[in-house]
Subunit: 390 residues, 2 copies
């Protein structure tokens, strides 16, 4: 058995970032920028008023000073003349500053009488102007790769970028295997259960930027598995669930090897999720997950999510971990890295009593996977431990 | 000016949860469950083997005990006979436990010779069986409302739920207003800038479960604004951006009132984002945001996100806050609640130097809004403050 980190490194060695595609800006949130974007203009493109008020020349400003209002500048509508001594231009937030003006007196700081204003006492010294290029300058960059968040989308819009180059979303084929399975909505026989792993994994993988598709359930026959792999052949990542153990009924590995899979590793020192295999398969990465529902989801967080991020150009790194203090003592851990279903709250992180890898009910309650290193000693309440938020 | 909390309460008083719709389970992740789901079966539906091994009657198990292997049980394929004294059934993970068996000896704990097995020394006492209903029982519930996460989707699948009733996604119409604006990809005139707020807000609102649409830019005329409101008339939430201030060019409020808007409030004691109005408008909630890009996005996090969650049946609560220690001292705050662009890391939270509400560049760098209460005194490095993750 190899360590989780070794397995992850071997997976990364099989991954190359996907190619690029162009999408409209309104559909780019959550995608990963593939080409660095350069601003083609200053923002603001002109010195602009930061407030509603009166644009003047600052030489002439003092309490009780009086100005004639000679015109108006609004956002989108510049005042064409210039501001000279004793003159003011009514100006609104975002409007270009008129020629000759270098200060905006906010409207609350003047008394207006017809076309004349008088500066009140107690004037502050803010000039209330946004210089040209104060947000960004022509030539400023948003560097790729970058996971685009809503505020990035706003910034890109402001740079007049209508479409962006992003990494293609990984096409992931999810294959459940096993004669015991039926799809949700079907009527299971007395020995059967409902396929749930593909549904949970699709939701998880889609949420991090992949495009996962649920293939028909493969039966425990060579022919059925070959059909499933054929449906998956254009995928970037092929994930089988179940049939990866050493039991006599675990055909998946044999069939995959027969179809050209070069096995990279088999079995990892982790709980839950011990039976896990991976390899190259005709240009795709193939990962075989255990069939226990919780094991499959945990392996999704620990192995599939980093592979997806690597395909999206976000680098080759394990899923970022957070830390929290233990709410309760924990016994020593065994020889396998343990991802315990847990709940993290203000008081710390608590592992659930029931850690059987078949319990989806517990997983749905959990919001964290508490990570116990291999051979970790007993831990006391208050000690800081690592976890993955889920 | 009213407080942020008062404004939020007034917004909530205008909101009712939206009606329900049915979606296939594969599309339900990120949606909010609207009707409680009840399991129609036990999981597992039968006592099942938790391991690959041999099913026996535990009365006869001791080190060096020998058994005849009389059959096989695989997932999906029950052994039809029963297990009597001295007999064992080869069994695989997930297979129904045969009649008469109450223990599975894992395959690593036996020596096999043809159709006979011998139990090794040093046998543990685990029975390796998952009792029927150990994950969930017929009648167990997933209670609505609940934001469905990937592990919930897996659990629902496992309950044989093929489609679920969820709250309809709020239809949000986003209207930028102002003669100074053009859409990304267009050529701005010398006095113009690019509309960015609608793009940033759409990305943010879509990510929390809404369906936002960007309407054409409304010009600073009554006719243009009326056209925009007409396009928005079927929306659940109408958001205008810009034109909500007290300047002479701020027509939006007047036009909205003319079209039936009943104003609930106007102006909130917060920074950035002071000009903000809200009201009922022909069955929709109407919110007018300030035009400064950062103000609009901050108001989106502080006001629009809680409204969306309330429409989605998730209750009436402000956006959940986190806490972190200050990395640097902060001066006292003024009379308005201040949402400072900040960066949170292991060492604590740091507010950016530049807090001008026009700086999208700073917002795109930030990952937090540090919240200063009204009239908050000076704060020292190490003190715990609240923030919104963004």
């Amino acid at each position: 058995m190899i360590s989780v980190d070794d397995a992850l490194q071997q997976l990364f060695s099989m991954v190359t970032p996907l190619n690029h595609e162009t999408v409209p800006l309104a559909q780019a949130s959550g995608r990963v920028l593939a080409r660095t974007v350069t601003a083609k203009r200053d923002q603001p493109p002109f010195a602009a008023s930061a407030m509603d008020g009166y644009a003047v020349n600052s030489d002439t400003v003092e309490p009780r000073a009086r100005f004639d209002v000679v015109g108006e500048a609004a956002a989108g509508h510049r005042f064409d003349g210039s501001v000279t001594k004793g003159k003011a231009v009514r100006i609104f937030t975002g409007a270009p500053l008129p020629l000759g003006a270098d200060r905006v007196i906010i409207q609350e700081d003047v008394e207006r009488d017809g076309d004349r204003i008088t500066v009140k006492d107690g004037l502050g010294d803010s000039v209330n102007i946004r210089p040209a290029g104060s947000d960004f300058r022509c030539g400023d960059e948003i560097a790729a790769p970058r996971l685009l968040r809503p505020s990035d989308i706003a910034l890109l819009a402001s740079m007049n970028i209508a479409e962006v180059s992003v990494f293609r979303q990984p096409d992931i084929a999810l294959i459940s295997t096993g004669d015991e399975l039926v799809m949700p909505g079907e009527t299971p026989g007395p020995d059967q259960i409902i396929a749930s792993n593909t549904y949970g994994l699709k939701a998880m993988l889609d949420s991090i930027g992949a495009k996962a598709r649920i293939l028909p359930i493969a039966r425990d026959t060579v022919a059925s598995l070959e059909t499933a792999f054929d449906l998956a052949k254009d995928a970037d990542l092929i994930v089988t669930i179940g049939g990866a153990s050493v039991g006599d009924h675990d055909l998946v590995g044999d069939v995959a090897v027969g179809l050209g899979m070069e096995r990279a590793f088999y079995k990892i020192a982790m709980r839950p999720g011990k039976p896990l295999m991976a390899g190259h398969m005709n240009g795709a990465v193939m990962v075989g997950l255990p069939g226990n529902p919780v094991s499959a989801m945990v392996c999704g967080h620990v192995f599939l999510a980093p592979v997806v991020r690597a395909m999206l150009g976000l680098g080759r790194a394990r899923t970022p971990r957070l830390t929290a203090p233990l709410a309760n003592d924990l016994p020593p851990n065994g020889p396998r890295e343990h991802y315990m279903r847990a709940h993290v709250a203000d008081a710390g992180i608590t592992a659930y009593e029931r850690q059987d890898s078949a319990l989806l009910n517990v997983l749905a309650d959990a919001n964290a996977l508490l990570i116990r290193p291999r051979g970790d000693g007993p831990r006391q309440a208050g000690e800081i431990v690592e976890y993955l938020p889920i």
